[in-house]
């Protein structure tokens, strides 16, 4: 497709640079090679995720139990929201390719409308991802971290449809925080370079007391046996918490998360964050191109190739999301 923008009167003269063996302009080709290198970066991250997952294959968090929320609704709906996000991104890819198509027919107005819709789709997606992060950081049930760094979660066996099913219980459901007094460490009273963070919601002594007072509550470990996380017996639960419990954790951050291996949280934040950053920069570039379209820059050039190039980048962002979706939420 010969949509070269800048020509120096060298067309046809093979020895003056007029030769285009790949039949694509310089800019478009370079966009493709940039996408290639970016694809390698992303697959490096995803392969590293795979490495860590294979390394801890027996105790990796089950994604279905981590991402179960949709905005404004309570309850357990795994996959639904992220499927919506995927659809939004594919939709914005479609409006982008429609913009490119309208550009080929030099229809300025249509290009502008489709670019605008693409930008809106991108903003909805980034907003959804922000919400997803916020939910993940906030957490749900809370858990206890052991001295060895493992995560112990709580739940009880209840009858659902005549079958005994393990149902998660939040720490706050069976624990009440006892009154404690403590002198806050201040820089002027001790090591000036050490600061003390806030105390967690519940102390370990509170959790132990709460667990003893509620005979039905059991502990679930990280270990996966036959596709399910291993639930300890009542005696083993009490022993695990009393002997090994170090602190309570709520939600996720880079250092620890209540769903299991901290690496899961690290990779989630890093890979979806890097992808979200790509979406964000894609939106910015789309906005710039949108204004160029509206101002008629490409109409004067009689070529909408810039729309095509930014379109390639935008589709690539969609392409990466397809893989992130599979490896974080499905597999």
């Amino acid at each position: 497709m010969s949509t070269t923008v800048a020509t120096a009167g060298a067309e046809g003269k093979i020895w003056s640079g007029g030769n285009e063996p790949l039949r694509a302009s310089y800019g478009k080709m370079m966009m493709w090679f940039f996408i290639l290198s970016d694809a390698l970066t992303f697959s490096g991250f995803l392969a590293a995720y795979g490495f860590s997952r294979f390394k801890f294959i027996k105790e990796w968090p089950i994604a279905d139990e981590v991402f179960t929320h949709i905005p404004f609704f309570h309850g357990n709906y795994p996959m639904i929201y992220v499927a919506f996000m995927t659809f939004i991104l594919i939709m914005s890819s479609v409006t982008m390719v429609l913009a490119v198509d309208a550009g080929h027919h030099l229809k300025q107005q249509k290009v502008a409308v489709y670019m605008f819709l693409t930008i809106i789709g991108g903003i909805i997606f980034v907003g959804s991802q922000g919400w997803e992060w916020a939910t993940f950081i906030k957490g749900e049930y809370g858990a206890v971290q052991t001295k060895g760094g493992n995560i112990l979660q709580f739940g009880e066996n209840v009858m659902i449809d005549g079958k005994e099913t393990f149902k998660r219980v939040a720490i706050s459901d069976f624990t009440t925080a006892a009154h404690t007094e403590r002198v806050q460490h201040e820089n002027k009273n001790g090591l000036w370079f050490v600061s003390e963070g806030a105390l967690p919601e519940f102390q370990m002594t509170d959790v132990v007391a709460g667990l003893k007072a509620h005979p039905k509550v059991l502990v679930r470990t990280q270990e996966i046996v036959d596709g399910k996380k291993l639930v300890l017996s009542r005696e083993a639960s009490l022993e695990a918490i009393t002997k090994n419990g170090k602190r309570t954790v709520h939600g996720a951050n880079l250092e620890v998360n209540e769903y299991g291996s901290p690496l899961f949280g690290d990779f989630f934040f890093f890979i979806t964050g890097f992808h979200g950053f790509h979406v964000f920069s894609g939106i910015i570039i789309n906005i710039i191109i949108f204004f160029n379209v509206v101002l008629g820059t490409y109409e004067k050039r009689k070529s909408y190739e810039m729309v095509e190039k930014v379109g390639l980048y935008w589709h690539f962002v969609d392409l990466v999301w397809v893989f992130v979706f599979t490896f974080f939420y499905l597999v």
Binding site: M1, T3, P21, L22, R23, A24, M29, W32, F33, I35, L36, A39, L40, S43, G44, A47, A48, G50, F51, S52, R53, F54, K55, F56, I57, K58, D64, P78, M79, I80, A83, T86, F87, I90, M91, S93, V94, M96, V97, L98, V100, D101, H104, L106, G227, G311, L312, H315, F316, D318, L319, V322, F323, F325, T326, Y329, L330, V331
Partner: protein, 126 residues
């Protein structure tokens, strides 16, 4: 300006009248695939939990469906179908080769580390 698009997908099984029509057709196809993935992801049929080539059958299905989606995004949305074969090969083969190599190396090594951990830190018990 002439912009020829190849308007057939599924190896010519489905032909579209215009490029715009093809875009909507591909969207429908991608949406169906995503819907299948989501339904399988929620219900996780018992029959697909069995192991095939060292991984759950369900996971193989997810990965294959993802590659199918990636193919149609690159080929029809990014117009790879219409590019010169030289450009297509330069981009696609490079990526396929390097990524497969990286995945093989890292997953192999991850499995090895797991085995060493699992086996009481013994590499090989003679």
């Amino acid at each position: 300006m002439a912009h020829e698009h190849k308007l057939a997908i599924f190896r010519g099984l489905l032909k579209f009248k215009s490029n715009t029509q093809k875009i909507w057709g591909v969207l429908i196809f991608l949406t169906i695939i995503t819907a299948i993935e989501v339904v399988l992801g929620i219900y996780k049929p018992e029959i697909l939990e069995s192991q095939v080539f060292g991984m759950k059958a369900l996971n193989w299905i997810f990965i294959i469906l993802t590659l199918v989606k990636a193919y149609y995004i690159a080929w029809d949305f990014m117009h790879m179908r219409d590019e010169a074969s030289g450009l297509r090969r330069a981009v696609v083969w490079t990526a396929v080769f390097l990524i497969s190599y990286m995945i093989f190396i890292l997953l192999q090594e991850g499995g090895y580390v797991f085995n060493v951990y699992d086996n009481g830190f013994i590499k090989k018990d003679f």
